[in-house]
């Protein structure tokens, strides 16, 4: 691999949104007061649009280079330099990250513009855009970072912004709680991510190639092929850890529970963060590290099954939801599952392709639902909607196109990308028929619930109350314009990734320098046509059932509600009770553990300390008694004897001078007598 080309414009792709965030974050309140919300909007949108132009510039520069030279790097300074750990603050544009930054800045820019309309009545307008810009900067760091550690910086950064934006309306505890949940569940994933990173770093270090830079890591990946840890190949363990990180960020089983709750945030946030960009970070990361994942078949197998399970479970839940955003949220989880199926069967390029098409149609769906919610005065229950297409034609049209795209009808974008994944699941070396079959079922359910949503929202009679109906209106141009652009994307963007029979995927070809061997399969063209037909007919069946139930109403939904004693319905509707289980086991468990150890600390550890103190005090009390009664007793006894004797002798001291004189004379006489009588 040749040395990358040095440039110095890439940094601005990250810095401009960051600058916007800093300006709006520190001065936003004042700007909003003095210059109005328009100024805030300009400060927020302009950097993202300029960043988009720079991203296009990067893309075109790459395009002008021969494929093996498509690496642009912008090295700012050495960030950490300790022993073998050398990490630069450096940003990298290669085919993979160029796609990602186009998505992030392009769709992100549209969502920024949309949000200036959607959030117009919010007092904390400036704060919203400060967060949104910060998020964009973090997401761009994630995809542009040239080392795993810098990727992790963005990874955590987007998590932080997601937390802040989910809890944007923090006056309501429920929103704040949803933010906490998102952050903490993501932290569980991050925990796996860092361990995977450490393991890869030290394994490479043991081979003398310590580095966290992608280019170096990929280059030396084969050197750790035969190393093992705890009886497993190192790559398997490391990729498993990394995948734990991906399940957190990209909402896979078992860590997907945060994403539906994350819909508590404003709708543009749901579109940008929780559909188009942040949640796809896990897919991006696996694609980025594809060389390592490909070396670990066991991990790929796990990923494929986790992807299938997520796709199907989330789809079953989506069947039963009535909240317009919740349906989309579970649909996002489900679609992310498809991306991981793609990764799991070795089709990294297909996964990234689906990531991109999904970004278009899901952003369009979310923004469309936002438009509806805006018109309905923040009513999100689909049972209170209906017939909206007469009031909101543009929203309806774009929503309809996106539904067709997500349901997988040709020639809309979703068809090509999803079909590529199904095709690889069926035919590639890592795939198998069971994965394909379940994924297909999921696709059928997707078509059903998306059309259910479409029918419930836009068709039939309006079920909203009179007051709301009177005020129904199409959203302003600043909101509908992004919808139109996204819908156009949802129609055409699939064409860059045509299946093999239609000429092969431009997209996969573009990614080839980064993703070598994108799960090519050599099955016959007949099979390829056949599988396409199967998936389209399954989707059509889903649509047909939805049509019968919610448009023609000839088939009652209750038939399914009461199926098998209502057990499946209740299970789906209660989200497989995962939240309850996690709450009871993990959250309560941790809190119990915390209370236990805290009590242990207060009563046992501190008890011992205080106990020692008490024992010392008791001993000193005993000692005090000994001192008072034995030692001091002796001293006092001596004193008492002296005192008593003195008291006795005192009687002699009368103070009577005559008495003394008599004493003197008698004593002298006695002395004289004795002297004369005995000593002569």
């Amino acid at each position: 691999m040749e040395n990358p080309i040095q440039t110095d414009f890439i940094r601005w792709i990250v810095f401009l949104p960051l600058l916007g965030a800093i300006v709006n974050g520190l001065l936003g309140a004042k700007i909003q007061k003095s210059l109005g919300k328009g100024a805030i909007g300009v400060i927020a949108c302009a950097p993202v649009i300029v960043a988009f132009i720079l991203a296009v510039n990067g893309f075109l520069t790459l395009k002008g280079l021969p494929p093996e030279k498509r690496f642009l790097i912008d090295n700012l300074y050495r960030w950490i330099d300790l022993g073998s750990l050398k990490v630069d603050m450096a940003f990298l544009i290669d085919p993979l990250s160029s796609v990602m930054i186009l998505v992030v800045t392009g769709i992100g820019g549209l969502i920024h513009i949309y949000a200036t309309g959607y959030m117009h009545d919010d007092k904390a307008f400036w704060r919203f855009f400060a967060y949104l810009n910060l998020f964009t900067a973090a997401m761009l760091t994630l995809v542009l970072g040239d080392s795993l550690l810098l990727l992790f910086v963005g990874w955590e950064g987007v998590g932080l912004c997601s937390y802040a934006l989910i809890g944007f309306w923090y006056h309501d505890h429920a929103n704040a709680r949803a933010g906490n949940k998102a952050f903490i569940v993501n932290r569980v994933g991050d925990f796996g991510f860092v361990l995977g990173m450490f393991l890869l770093f030290w394994s490479l270090d043991a081979q003398g190639h310590a580095s966290l830079t992608f280019r170096e890591m990929v280059k030396w990946a084969p050197s750790i092929q035969n190393m093992s840890l705890w009886g497993w190949p190192v790559v398997t363990v490391a990729t498993m850890f990394l995948f734990v990180g991906a399940t957190g960020k990209s909402a896979q089983i078992p860590l997907f529970v945060w994403l539906p709750d994350a819909m508590a945030g404003p709708t543009p946030v749901s579109a940008l963060i929780h559909a188009a960009t942040m949640v796809t970070a896990g897919v991006y990361m696996t694609a980025r590290m594809n060389v390592f994942f490909s070396m670990a078949p066991a991990t790929l197998h796990l990923i494929a099954w986790v992807g299938v399970a997520t796709a199907v479970v989330a789809a079953t839940i989506a069947l039963t939801q009535n909240d317009i955003k919740k349906v989309l949220a579970y649909s996002t989880v489900s679609q992310l599952g498809y991306m991981f199926i793609g990764v799991g069967v070795g089709g990294y390029a297909a996964a990234v392709f689906h990531l991109m098409t999904h970004a278009f149609f899901k952003a369009c769906l979310f923004l469309g639902s936002g438009s509806v919610i805006h018109a309905m005065h923040h009513e999100q229950d689909m049972r209170k909607m209906g017939g909206l297409k007469q009031w909101m034609p543009i929203t309806f049209a774009t929503f309809f196109i996106s539904v067709l795209a997500i349901a997988g009808f040709p020639p809309f974008a979703g068809f090509f990308s999803k079909d590529e994944i199904l095709w690889l699941a069926f035919t590639s070396d890592h795939g198998n028929k069971a994965v394909w079959f379940f994924a297909l079922c999921g696709a059928g359910m997707t078509a059903f619930y998306m059309f259910r949503q479409l029918f419930m929202t836009f068709y039939g009679k309006c079920r909203a109350d009179h007051h709301t109906q009177e005020h129904l209106h199409e959203s302003p141009a600043v909101m509908t314009m992004p919808l139109v652009v996204l819908a156009i994307g949802a129609v055409f963007v699939g064409l860059i990734g045509l299946p093999g029979v239609l000429g092969g995927s431009q997209f996969a070809h573009w990614l080839e320098p980064v993703i070598a061997g994108h799960g090519e399969s050599h099955a016959s063209h007949a099979l390829e046509w056949g599988l396409m037909a199967v998936s389209v007919s399954v989707a059509s069946f889903g649509v047909f059932v939805a049509y019968l139930m919610y448009r023609k109403e000839s088939l009652s939904p209750d038939t399914f509600v009461n199926l098998a004693g209502g057990v499946p319905y209740r299970l789906f509707n209660a989200k497989w009770y995962l939240d309850e289980i996690y709450q009871a086991v993990l959250v309560e468990g941790t809190l119990k553990l915390a209370r236990f150890w805290s009590a242990f600390d207060a009563y046992i550890v501190d008890g011992i300390v205080n106990g020692v103190a008490a024992v010392v005090r008791f001993v000193s009390w005993l000692n005090g008694l000994f001192d008072t009664y034995i030692i001091d007793g002796l001293v006092n006894a001596l004193a008492n004897v002296t005192y008593w004797a003195g008291n006795r002798f005192r009687r002699l001291q009368t103070g009577n001078i005559n008495g003394y004189l008599y004493g003197i004379i008698i004593a002298m006489a006695a002395a004289v007598y004795v002297k004369i009588r005995y000593w002569t």
Binding site: W79, I80, L82, L85, I184, F191, L195, V609
Partner: protein, 505 residues
């Protein structure tokens, strides 16, 4: 600059003496104390600029005879390990003077004791003579006792006595160890540099004392443990940590900052300064259990205890227990990343926890309680305050771009090579940390505003002045950690190189 370290140490002490002579005017005393802490701060900046980052030798050394009869000398000097702590001490002392402007009771006494404490702390980090080190160690203890015991909260006497006795217990063990080291080599010496050179003699010495000699205990392990316990109490390592929550909760805000920001670091500093280079063989033997495993346990235990607290300040106190665990864990790794990460974590913890205690102080000054459940929705009432709090909390959580991230990731990365299992335990502490801090943010700052505090005053200029320097350092170190790491690297690598040959396997 000649004798710069002496000036840094004794200017505050002279200031303390002069305060006693000032008239009893609170304003005058406050500003005088603030001025007294400026020269050490400027000298610290000078040191930072003039410190030679390429050598592991002691710099700015001052060496004078003190008590020649016992070969005790007055020796001061700094290397990469102590310079970061000296800078931290100078900065936090300066900031804490301003944080103490709210003190109303016996102002003269407070500031005189505070400056005396400052001198003691500076001396501990600069002293290169073990006897001198011990003297400063004890000098620091006394003002701390009074500062907690007189200006503290309702249970201040209990907390002060607990702190004092606990530390004194450790000091006694340390003194015995120092004397044992002193008498083991000929000619007897307290000079740390000479003692480091005698490491091999210590490792072969036998404990001459009954009953240890009959049990065959080796000198170095017993001495190592004695020193370790002395230092572990300061860290504070489980199970010697219970003085900390009490002392923190009762101490006035500025003293909590000093306690967490500087005093805790003396434990780990002491271990790196004495245990590592003087008793490398014992260090290699003991590190896994007494630093590594205990450190990992500290992380998880502290985090779980923090989660269960209802008092905001106690929560921050337990978070200190948790975060100092990273320092111990990193020290035990003997990798350049782990060790540098550990010392960087010492520095970062000083700034981040300093901020957190100051922030708790801000809200306590207004509400006069610290009950986590008793607030709610402060974000709407005090947005600037909440923003700064978020910065501190996220730095504590180890969010990238902020300093805590660098040190935690370095510690965990460094530890993984030696002890993957301990790393997994330590890293799970990161999840718990996020848990309790976010939960706290939610309960105190988010949600509907508490009716009782609708009129609470926004953070004032003086308080912002104390917080902003720390916040800037937190961000700078996060973006460009070389600021601190460049100073540490050479010294720590040389300390590490002393121990590494003695590691098993």
């Amino acid at each position: 600059m000649q004798n710069i370290l002496t000036y840094m140490t004794f200017i505050p002490l002279a200031g303390a003496a002069m305060i006693l002579m000032l008239p009893n005017n609170a304003k005058l005393v406050r500003w005088f104390s603030a001025i007294v802490t400026v020269p050490p701060l400027l000298m610290a900046v000078w040191l930072f600029n003039n410190f030679d980052r390429t050598t592991a030798k002691f710099q700015f050394v001052e060496d004078y005879h003190w008590i020649p009869a016992y070969n005790i000398s007055y020796t001061m000097g700094v290397d990469g390990l102590s310079i970061s702590m000296v800078l931290l001490t100078a900065l936090l002392s300066f900031i804490c003077i301003f944080a103490s402007f709210g003190i109303e009771k016996a102002v003269k006494g407070y500031f005189a004791l505070f400056l005396m404490l400052d001198a003691g702390m500076m001396g501990v980090f600069c002293a290169l003579d073990f006897f001198l080190f011990y003297v400063f160690w004890e000098v620091m203890l006394l003002p701390m006792y009074f500062l907690i015991g007189i200006w503290g909260g309702p249970r201040r006497e209990y907390a002060a006595i607990k702190f004092f006795l606990y530390t004194l217990f450790g000091s006694v063990l340390m003194l015995l160890a120092i004397l044992a080291l002193y008498f083991t080599v000929e000619p007897h010496t307290f000079d740390m540099r000479v003692m480091m050179a005698h490491a091999s003699k210590y490792s072969t010495a036998v404990l001459p004392m009954w009953p240890f000699n009959s049990w065959g205990w080796s000198f170095q392990h017993v001495i190592w443990l004695a020193l370790f316990i002395g230092f572990a109490i300061k860290i504070p390592a489980f199970p010697f940590h219970t003085w900390l929550p009490d002392a923190h909760v009762e101490a006035p805000t500025a003293i909590s900052v000093i306690l967490a920001g500087v005093l805790l670091k003396m434990g780990t500093y002491g271990i790196l300064r004495t245990n590592f280079p003087m008793l490398p063989v014992a260090t290699a033997d003991m590190a896994y259990w007494f630093l590594g495993a205990l450190g990992a346990w500290n992380i998880i235990y502290g985090a779980l205890c923090a989660m269960a607290q209802k008092d905001l300040k106690k929560l921050v106190a337990y978070s200190s227990v948790s975060h100092m665990g990273y320092v111990m864990l990193g020290m035990a790794s003997f990798t350049t990343q782990g060790l540098n990460g550990a010392v960087l974590q010492m520095f970062n913890h000083g700034t981040i926890t300093g901020m957190m205690f100051l922030l708790v102080g801000v809200v306590y000054d207004r509400a006069h309680h610290r009950d986590i459940e008793g607030f709610g929705g402060l974000a709407a009432i005090m947005p600037v305050y909440t923003g700064i709090t978020a910065l501190a909390f996220f730095a504590s959580m180890g969010l990238p771009g902020l300093s805590g991230f660098i040190s935690e990731i370095l510690v965990l990365l460094g530890t993984w090579q030696k002890y993957p299992v301990l790393t997994i335990l330590g890293a799970s502490g990161v999840i718990l940390t996020a848990g309790y801090l976010l939960w706290t943010i939610q309960r105190v700052y988010l949600g509907p505003p508490n009716e009782k505090y609708l009129n609470m005053a926004e953070i004032n200029g003086r308080e912002i002045f104390t917080l902003v320097p720390l916040g800037i350092i937190v961000i700078i170190v996060g973006i460009y950690p070389g600021v601190v790491l460049d100073m540490l690297r050479t010294t720590l690598d040389s300390i590490n190189a002393i121990v590494i040959p003695h590691l098993h396997g």
